[in-house]
Symmetry: D2
Subunit: 416 residues, 4 copies
């Protein structure tokens, strides 16, 4: 009954969707993505960055189509494979929860959305989405394309240079109002070799310098977004505040299952309605609702050296209790309340994995882009690593005690 | 301490805000606008149209600045006036509630946000925003500029061709992905005459044809947005469903005061959490969450003639009880449940008021644009009026009873 | 050997060309189009409007591809037909001479480029281009597609809504810096019916209002370009000056054949180098080179009524001698030199032929768009006709004698 | 009488010009820039890159205004200084001749336009432009701002990061259809210190990382344009062919003075009309007119090491006779005609001088950007140097003798 549908997207113009995709989009699980912003709290810095995982998912499916269209100039791709890949691209973020990157990657409150088997099971096997996929006989194949490795399908969906990346680079810059953009010529480079997606940089035995430049440019836009948006200190601070509130609410009775049904705004609302008996939760939400964010009074960067960084990450990143112990101790030592301080310690997850995209070079051999002797790639990788920062964030009301808090922190974590 | 701030907006680029504006933006009342989408449920048709009244408010303040900057080439404007106007522009939507246009203009569940004295009082006098305005001694002047008439300040904020319009035409097209746009040359036309904002179309005793064309173009974009977005049948249907749910919840105990504190998502959440004991509310929300919208099975347009239209609007637009009586009666007559039918009857509020902008013409006289003998304006006004439609919307499950419902409706409202 | 080539165009991005097209592009006749600006002297008003018929021809071939790509979703088109149509689109302007519209349409110094059999013969049969077409066995078919009628091939190349139009609307606005643009959704409307290209406005028995709106929008952009660019008084005046110089040079020995080998700049250069012995030519070129253009001191518009307009056009449009006699007589009567005055009398060629595009309407019948009862189309057609203007242009040095020249003109052409 | 004029530019939108600028623009010398394309023969690769030095000059004046507008937020600039700087920006390319970069920088047929005192004298003192500047009493000041050093006026006009650069980066990408662009935020960084233009990278004692990133981004766009456009092998080859033809024509009687009055198209025309008695000129023009360009059969890059490169440049870059001797000798040795070979040897002029822009850093000290320890700048500088290439270009007819020509070349210049 339903046929192909043209959907007008702000970034890509008309996106064409087949009947199966439309059916999947109209499930409650997928519609729920409309409530989850793509960039978490980045809108506190870039007010128009309110785009959601819903439209990003549509765009990812479209970018998968564009990649396949380009590959087809020289290689065959079956209609079944295209359907499978477009569906997997459409669903690649279905397991997301609100403020996912913060709660999963930065604060480790939960496992990563695509590593969390229970969630994958819930969203891709048990739900309405799961039933549709089963009926079509593509359930396992779609899950493999989303979470698996070692196939060109999974490479297109979420490999180093993927449909996911090609959508969000354009979308995030468009909605943030940044002028960076990549050139559509990049699509010309995709080929399939030995069953994997590869960027072909070779032409008549030489490296296509313009294709390589464009690839470097892509990584640079990725880096720039990290620098200006993804790790912006305001996003970090607000994310840490929300995360802390969630952590506390989880102790007060909120369940992980609940998070699967909430969006950004409804999560905040639930915290506010149900968990304000916890005075810290109450305080954090009050600050958030008037954009009175905690501020960094103590910062460590990669300048402390890899050894110390490893030590700090292993002490604080995974361990909520350790962070709380530190917060209490430093608070006590500097005469402030424990809820007026938050320790933020991200993982090392800043390797710019895009640089590991397999490329086909002048002599036809295939290797990761970063394995080539390209200085620009090397520097981008380094600079990206250097975005790692350890913060001690404090409430504005105690800003005048900054010096004491600094000393107490230094003493506690042993930086002096 | 705080100084001017540059804020990057997707539509206008860098927006410059003074310290007073930043302080107003950081109040809970203003931050709350981040939860209210500019176009209500239009995202169900244009998935990237998720922009909110928050960034629109910033943009409106910026457009006010652009208008004043242009006026200043030939006329003086005091710094105090600029501050007042920019603040009023920033706050012009502060009284908005979620799905405001639907609840206020289309369904009359509440009075219009800027006609609702209680709400104006609440948001502009009692709240944190109110306190700041009072401290600055500009409270009455700002309220007058937002709701008043007869001053160039109120013209710039919300007159026929206003900062409000100049922001939302660009913003709505940008986020919907439509190609229409107006030319920045329009700003050159603004002048102040006898204390009012006027579009000057005269140069050396002749009509500036290009300025007139551009003005017509502006109205046309306004019309196009009405046709394709604001009155899109999917937006109408989903809006009617939400509105019906809200109407029922208000009977079940939800208060108008609550609506002031909610955003789009949290309103839906509240309906779902607190009012699903009402089975109709429950049913409507279930449909909405899987985008199974009610469909029009019976439509009346302006072709029925003005007399009949007036009759129908006076019977159904203002009167929730009359609509419910009709829904029950038609449902009974066609063998469906009352909650499977919604009657949607908008007001005549479709006059394209932009056409009433005062213009200065070849002999220097000032009159409304529509008073000139311009056929294009006349047609745009007519076409805009013709967007009025009366719908009987029904649940998809009873789509096969469409013919019976049609007859029953015709019999009930007397169209045969 | 040569294969498909990707060419980066500012307007459309990458344009893909096949080997035959590349071979045709690399002929001297086609390369010559690089010297002929698309908009003649419009750059005197819009300085960046220096784009040429060369890139427009590439873009037209690409738009033909886009139309065919869209048609192919529902109908078959053979590869041979696509090649033929793309080649014809590429070559549709090959017979152009510098300032063609002025010399052909406005001043009738020469027959129109596509009506001039000798020129068609020269460029499409005798030249390198002709030889390639002959070798491929498509010479007659290409000529028929360019100049013929009654086939969907000729419709795509140069019909009412054609590849030609779809390229130049975007290109002219892009290079002039105007904000108007059409939406790519228009391509969805093309179908082939009874061997002709038709815009399909029907869906499920109803008129697709959005498709109709977009079509009207396309005509409006066409109108706007006429109003602001094609008939801008500065373009008219400079065009008339060049045309007058060419007319005089043709009497002094310049040949029509020469014009086939010249570009805009080299034509001016030739006039300057070879024909300045004619003092009027010399004077005109001196004025042009310092942008001291003749100005209108006497203007007639359509307000004079159709009868008088017909009379004036029949007296002055086709007849260079009649114009010169008038110029001499008016000059004498008002005490100026004959070379200080130019009479400019365009034809009625302003019918907005785009409005005659065949459309398929709600009941499936096919008729010209203008035959429908659409008021907007009617007004656009009327407004377009009203762009007709008869000018008496005079040198700036005699501007102070304007009143005498006006009276003398009125007396001569009998307007009083 | 004449007042400020708004001119619509494709790149910047409305550009505002004062009466003095309009008067200067309407001189024959300035209008002549309409015939000189900004990018020489780049249109043979990017067909829409036909923009000229005329609109670039307007844009440069506008960028100067934008820089001054931004500086004025914190520092005073007199109206006289603004006028002077805008006029100098407008006129900064007035001394240009057709294919200037090729004839001056790459082939050294003439001295650089801004180092050629005779030409400066001719265009800025003797001509209509010169007379206007003298009348206004700003002749020396304007010449100093264009050619001089050591003032913020000359820095704005043509310093390392200048109005010139800010215009052409946007313009060249716009007309070539490349997606690179810089962010308008860059204007915020300009300050005047000790009478010089400086980019301020400091804020509250720290380096503004985003400002530094944007500056690096600007240099990168500059580099990308060099890589893809300015040194594209097709541009090099066609430029060398034209240059060779000009060199030969200069011996046959063409004068340097003539070049001052010609544009791109009229120079080619003159070569063709007047100098085809020289059979090599005739051959080169025949090739050019059907885009049958010479091809590189032998290429040296920076891989040969600095010493050898220095040697080769000193032998071939400045010395037309040495190049001809080489061409003859290699031709003889490989059995081809001398006119079938062109040696192309650019200078070292590839230092990416933009990297030497003075920046104000964290401790307030001012130094060239490249003096900082920025790896990205270092790499950009290196990569830019590596764009240097020595070519032996040969006619397509002798392509099959490529191997013999290679050996003969290697033997002649001693690379074996």
């Amino acid at each position: 009954m339903s046929k192909r549908k043209l959907i007008r997207d702000a970034v890509h113009g008309d996106i064409e969707m087949g009947p199966l995709e439309v059916e999947l989009m109209d499930t409650p699980e997928f519609q729920r993505l409309r409530g989850i912003r793509q960039l978490g709290t980045a809108y506190l810095v870039f007010p128009s960055a309110v785009h959601t995982r819903f439209e990003h998912s549509l765009g990812t499916s479209w970018m998968a189509h564009r990649i396949l269209q380009s590959i087809r100039r020289n290689q065959n791709v079956s209609t079944e494979d295209e359907t499978l890949i477009r569906v997997a691209a459409l669903l690649h973020d279905i397991t997301h929860i609100p403020f996912g990157h913060t709660l999963e990657d930065e604060r480790r409150v939960l496992p990563r959305h695509d590593k969390d088997e229970e969630r994958v099971d819930y969203f891709l096997r048990q739900s309405a989405v799961g039933r549709i996929l089963k009926r079509e006989g593509i359930q396992d194949a779609v899950i493999a394309a989303i979470n698996g490795k070692d196939s060109y399908a999974s490479d297109i969906v979420g490999g180093a240079i993927s449909a996911d990346l090609l959508d969000y680079l354009r979308r995030d810059t468009y909605f943030c109002g940044l002028s960076q953009n990549y050139d559509a010529r990049i699509f010309e480079s995709f080929i399939i070799e030995n069953g994997r997606l590869v960027m072909n940089l070779e032409k008549q035995g030489r490296v296509r310098q313009d294709a390589l430049s464009e690839l470097v440019n892509l990584l640079r836009i990725r880096y720039t977004l990290s620098e200006r948006v993804y790790y912006h200190h305001t996003k970090v601070s607000s994310g840490a505040m929300i995360s802390k509130a969630v952590e506390l609410a989880l102790r007060e009775g909120m369940t992980v299952e609940e998070l699967r049904t909430l969006g950004d705004e409804t999560l905040i609302w639930n915290l506010k309605e149900l968990y304000v008996r916890n005075s810290i939760v109450a305080h954090l939400l009050k600050r958030l609702e008037s954009r009175q964010l905690y501020r960094a009074c103590y910062v460590l960067s990669t300048e402390i050296g890899e050894k110390r960084r490893t030590d700090i990450v292993s002490r604080f990143h995974h361990d909520l209790d350790a962070r709380e112990a530190a917060e209490s101790s430093i608070a006590r030592a500097s005469g402030i309340q424990p809820h007026e301080i938050i320790i933020y310690c991200p993982s090392f997850g800043m390797q710019l994995s895009e640089a590991e995209v397999p490329v086909r070079s002048d002599r036809g051999e295939i290797q990761p882009l970063s394995a080539g002797n390209n200085e620009e790639i090397r520097i981008l990788k380094e600079k990206h690593k250097e975005l790692w920062k350890f913060y001690v964030l404090i409430d504005r009301d105690v800003w005048d005690r900054g010096d004491r808090i600094k000393s107490a922190t230094a003493a506690y974590i042993g930086t002096e």
